[in-house]
């Protein structure tokens, strides 16, 4: 077990390194292939009508004058050991993990990411509780009453939930229920206001996922209910309630747990559409801005963070799976 965790952690670090390299390459190499010069890249951060001297100065400031390998080395050094940055009159030490300073806003990337993490995490966890409860219970009931009115109604709703885009359901629900909009309040400031404000985004996001999970649970449950061990459980004389919960649900939930862990991991990297629709200042919106502004440090920070969450979520899911399913060996 410990060996497994260590090996996986090393693999995760390797994956993050590769992710950062690929992001770097996409940022620097691909536009170059498309004909963009370093000057043109730098010109995006100088403002209107830059002179050549200004462009050169900006290139030096952002480190764009250096070869890509040197730039990458600086980036890695920043994460591991921190870096010094000049702001004109003074320089400032950016402690590790230093993802650098935004090209655009000149602010350090890491504290902003940490700050926004709270919003995204609040959104993801709140919604996940809702969708897990709603999705699984609807899925189970649908499977047990397959073909009933409830089953059909639930599955049609689920189809709608899966196919309607968040910005549609989100804007509609905003217009209908909360035209004054959502403003994020930190859970540490006022837990009640926090929940009140996030309720609508939670429900909207959970609607989509609950729909997915209901379908997933229903299918899994139908499959499990046909398993031999369910027949065995009945043959033992177990009441149907116990057959469903202890035997069928347990087996159905285990693969769903995997999907759930990965979904959470993905969402923590930014619930882009939900955050945009509800104007929540989370990681997802940060990512969008980073990409729109061609802001490399921000893009790298957000990519690494998202990759980190996915890697960690994978690891946790694997560990949980081993706990849930005794057949799984960690090796």
């Amino acid at each position: 077990m410990a060996g497994f965790v260590i090996r996986r952690a090393l693999g995760a670090v390797l994956l993050l390194v590769v992710t950062s390299m690929v992001t770097f390459a996409i940022f620097f190499v691909v536009p170059r292939l498309a004909g963009q010069t370093v000057d043109q890249l730098a010109a995006q951060y100088v403002g209107k009508d830059p002179s050549q001297a200004e462009i050169e100065a900006t290139k030096v400031k952002l480190g764009l004058d250096q070869p890509i390998t040197v730039q990458y080395g600086r980036f890695v050094k920043g994460i591991v050991a921190g870096r010094e940055y000049s702001f004109g009159p003074s320089t400032e030490y950016c402690p590790p993990p230093c993802f650098g300073y935004s090209f655009k806003t000149q602010r350090p990337v890491w504290p902003d990411l940490v700050d926004r993490m709270e919003v995204t995490a609040s959104l993801a966890f709140g919604a996940s509780v809702l969708w897990l409860l709603a999705g699984v219970s609807i899925g189970v009931l649908s499977a047990l009453r397959k073909g009933s009115f409830f089953d059909r109604a639930a599955m049609i709703t689920a189809l709608a939930g899966v196919s309607l885009p968040i910005f549609f359901t989100g804007l509609l629900s905003l217009a209908l229920f909360l035209p004054t909009g959502v403003s994020y309040v930190s859970i540490t400031d006022d837990p009640l206001a926090w929940a009140k404000n996030l309720l609508l985004p939670w429900i909207t996001l959970a609607f989509l996922y609950a729909a997915l999970y209901a379908r997933l649970t229903r299918a899994g449950m139908l499959e499990t209910m046909g398993e031999d061990y369910i027949r065995t459980a009945r043959a033992k004389g177990l009441p149907e309630r116990i057959v469903v919960t202890r035997h069928a649900l347990r087996a159905t939930l285990t693969p769903i747990l995997t999907v759930f862990g990965l979904d959470i991991g993905l969402l923590l990297g930014g619930a882009v559409l939900t955050e945009s629709t509800f104007s929540l200042p989370g990681i997802g919106r940060y990512a969008i801005d980073a990409i729109n502004n061609n802001d490399l440090p921000q893009v790298l920070g957000v990519t690494m963070l998202a990759a980190f969450f996915i890697v960690v979520a994978n690891l946790i899911v694997d560990l949980l799976y081993a706990v849930a399913d005794p057949r799984v060996r960690l090796s």
Binding site: Q36, D39, Q40, A43, Q44, Y45, V46, G47, K48, D49, P50, S51, A53, E54, A57, T58, V60, K61, S86, F87, G88, P89, S90, E92, K104, T105, Q106, R107, D112, D115, R116, L171, L174, A175, P179, T180, G181, S183, S276, T277, F278, S279, P281, R285, Y286, D289, N292, N294
Partner: protein, 576 residues
């Protein structure tokens, strides 16, 4: 004493509840709430204090550092926490285009044949921390904008205009005396040394780049975390992408005639979804959209169809001109008659529709200067019936051009701007009627001026005849609007905005003449002449004076459209 009384009144009114609402409908209002009321008058005039002004922005600031920002709303808003040497008169309508002294006691005193401009600072003006503002701080504020590597966003007018040699800002060399572009003989006198005369200099110093910055407090790129306020409000917090909160500046000089200090707090939510902003406006939880670019389609139709909402809205000029140009260096547009053929063939109503119609798009344009710019004169050199194009006249011009059977060309536009794409298609169709076959080439907006339209080499290399363009002035005069567009000496290899490559010595000379003139009336006349001369050259086809539908929360007081900024004026707003 007065302040105290008002405060007490507010408390009483608040306690009475319902009365507070009815007392907001004072009869002595400059204008009552009706459609477009804030365009010509000040709506809900009131001296009532207290409350929070709730604003929102679907985007974010480039920087809140007054020396490092270049958005219109930002220049409008920066006046809340900083006083530049001059500013615009807080008045509705054309009156608002008038410059008035702000930090300075007077407008610029010009001497040395226009190469020296002197401002005397008002006495007793302090920063939010109580330290007095000196002339050196104004000099420092301008000096730091020379450090383009640290503060890249703002305009470069001072850099280009002031006689400062190769000065590179105060960060590499902290001795401010190295900056010769401004002299400060004493603590209240600011003397600008210009390379050549510049008639609109008073307009130039209204930009936030002259808002004083104390050198001791300057942290370069990080100064935006807390710029020192001289205005009626000071920065509490600025969190990029989240919010920007200001509160009353206790050390604001209340004799300031250009500002008010009514609300207790100004709260700007950032990066709010545009539709969400509209919803919140109509629900009353927001007072105004700070960008001032107009509501989205859904809310627009709701507002226009409901008289109760419509009366709280204004359909105002944004100060923006939408136009397309023909590159005079790309055949056959090197021939003025071929350019005229396009002038006549263009169906401006179709282009207007593409941009969202008269309310969201704007009014059909026939001049380069929009009506809210100093120097605007109404004329139409290429009039066509109902502005829908004139095939016969266009064909005549084609014949004179030696291309009676038409020709082929390319239209360059920004792919990620749906309006522009639609307009390009409308233009393509109109040109097709006179056998001009235009092929549309769409490129990303982000690099439009660095790589495509703004790079003459690209235009010529790819034989791009026509390119779409949009423009807004840095200051509301003909010079501010036109110089970067039609002065041939501004053509550059990258970031070129004179996309049509118009280089007419007579026009260039008129800019010099206006710059040298000390007579505002004379300058205004020259601007009109430049506009006409440029239009006669026929390579620019203006089609829309941009407009937007703005919504003002009826609870807001002292609301009017600032013509220079093309949106609500933010420095006098209160809450009823």
């Amino acid at each position: 004493m007065m302040m105290k009384k008002t405060g007490l009144a507010a408390v009483v009114a608040l306690a009475l509840g319902v009365t507070a609402c009815s007392s907001g409908d004072d009869k002595d209002n400059g204008g009552t709430a009706e459609f477009n009321a804030a365009d010509a008058s000040i709506v809900n005039q009131s001296a009532k204090t207290g409350g929070t002004l709730n604003l929102a922005l679907s985007d974010d600031w480039d920087s809140i550092d007054p020396g490092n920002t270049y958005y219109a709303f930002s220049w409008n808003f920066a006046r809340l926490y900083g006083r530049a040497l001059t500013t615009f008169k807080p008045a509705a309508g054309k009156d608002g285009l008038t410059l008035v002294p702000d930090l300075a006691q007077n407008l610029g005193e010009v001497s040395d044949g226009g190469r020296t401009v002197t401002y005397k600072l008002k006495p007793g003006i302090k920063y939010e921390d109580g330290t007095p503002v000196t002339a050196k701080d104004v000099k420092y504020a301008v000096a730091r904008t020379y450090a383009r590597d640290v503060l890249p966003n703002g305009p470069t007018y001072f850099v280009d205009l002031l006689d400062a040699g190769t000065y590179t800002g105060p960060y590499k060399n902290t001795d401010i005396n190295a900056f010769t572009g401004i002299q400060t003989p004493d603590d209240t006198t600011v003397v600008f040394k210009l390379k050549q005369p510049f008639g609109d200099f008073d307009f130039l110093v209204s930009s936030p780049q002259t808002i004083p910055v104390p050198q001791a407090k300057d942290t370069g790129a990080k100064y935006q975390e807390h710029p020192m306020s001289t205005g009626s409000y000071k920065v509490d917090t600025y969190e990029p992408g989240k919010q920007f909160v200001l509160s009353k500046n206790p050390n604001w000089d209340s004799s300031d005639p250009n500002r008010k200090q009514l609300v207790d707090k100004i709260d700007v939510k950032l990066k709010v979804n545009a539709e969400d902003i509209d919803n919140r406006l109509l629900a009353g939880s927001l007072d105004a959209d700070i960008a001032g670019s107009g509501m989205q389609a859904a809310a627009r139709s709701r507002v226009l169809s409901d008289p109760n909402l419509k009366k709280n809205s204004d359909n105002t000029f944004t100060g923006r001109l939408w136009f397309f140009v023909m590159d005079e260096k790309v055949a056959p547009f090197d021939n003025i008659e071929c350019r005229k053929a396009v002038q006549y063939a263009t169906d401006k109503v179709a282009l207007q529709t593409a941009y969202g119609g008269p309310i969201a798009g704007g009014d059909v344009a026939t001049t380069m200067l929009p009506p809210t710019i100093v120097g605007y004169q109404k004329f139409d050199l290429y009039a066509t019936p109902e502005s829908k194009g004139d095939v016969a006249k266009a064909k005549d011009a084609l014949t004179r051009c030696g291309r009676p059977d038409g020709f082929e060309t390319k239209i360059l536009l920004r792919a990620d701007r749906p309006n522009e794409v639609a307009a390009g298609e409308a233009l393509q169709q109109a040109l097709g009627k006179v056998n001009i076959k235009a092929e549309i080439r769409s490129v990303p907006a982000g690099q439009y001026f660095t790589r495509f339209a703004g790079a003459p080499e690209y235009m010529k290399g790819n034989q791009i005849g026509i390119a779409f363009h949009g423009w807004q002035a840095d200051w509301p005069t003909g010079y501010g609007f036109l110089q970067q567009l039609v002065d041939g000496r501004t053509i550059k290899a990258q970031g070129n905005t004179n996309v049509q490559e118009m280089n007419v010595p007579e026009i260039n000379a008129m800019f010099d003449k206006a710059a040298a003139s000390t007579d505002a009336k004379e300058r205004e006349t020259i601007y009109g002449q430049i506009d006409k001369a440029a239009m006669e050259h026929a390579s620019v086809v203006p089609f829309l004076y941009g407009k937007g539908l703005l919504y003002r929360n009826p609870a807001m007081t002292n609301v009017f459209i600032s013509y220079p900024f093309g949106m609500y004026d933010y420095v006098g707003l209160g809450k009823g």
